[in-house]
Point group: C2
Chain length 126, copies 2
Amino acid sequence: MKRRNTHSTAEIFEVLKSSGNALSHDMIQENIGSDIDRATIYRVLNRFCEDGKVHKVIGDDGKQYFAICHNCSGKNQVHSHNHIHFRCLHCGKVECLERDLAVPLPEGYVAKVHNLVISGFCNSCS
Amino acid sequence: MKRRNTHSTAEIFEVLKSSGNALSHDMIQENIGSDIDRATIYRVLNRFCEDGKVHKVIGDDGKQYFAICHNCSGKNQVHSHNHIHFRCLHCGKVECLERDLAVPLPEGYVAKVHNLVISGFCNSCS
DNA sequence: ATATTATCGCAACAAGGTCGCATTATGAAT
DNA sequence: ATTCATAATGCGACCTTGTTGCGATAATAT
């Protein structure tokens, strides 16, 4: 399936880019000018993930957050997104701490997905 | 509020203990003998968390997993549960890797909750 | 301009978890 | 042992997050 450049994809990507943080679906919907359907936003985001333009983290609030890949090593690679994310319990901001983390696993264990989130208070809120 | 010893709390704690791993609500419901309501299970587990007998992790599947605290340093302490959890994508097992992790945060950041999950394949499934 | 088909919007659905409220049962006091 | 206050339960309703089916729309190639 070839991807098409649509209004929605452009706007959603722009919101993610200008934010610089990891955003949940509803954050995106707020920050967006036009009115894009919830299902469409999820579909666009999941497409971004498949294409390796974006990575997804599940917060300790159980919600999905999406962020543009900067230092991530290519699409769908194992270990590609093994950095810690920080979620502020006060302002809600979720950011990627650009510090890769090598976690030694026991013998015979194979890592596929890293989902590392620390929450607390960020520098603006502590 | 004083806690009471009930049938449900005893059974749920026993299931967690004999399993040795972190269990989701439905895993507990399967492993349990009697028929305990979903809401009750969640309430019991949340009570255990408040009392520091158990800690909770959100998996990258968005589900809550509960595990008995072994090396965790007391109830509701910051940094008390800062170990990595491993979730097997094949057998579903979620286990605590008993290896504490000191993550250096940027200036001004305060950690409150650690939610560190790596998923992949465990030694039995890889 | 036309055809193909990826994408969208809407609605319905599913799963996970919480909450209100009437009922039950635990543990303490009598 | 009986009574009493109230913690805990079961049931149902509810909310939120996310996904899916399907007909309508619109992006790209010809």
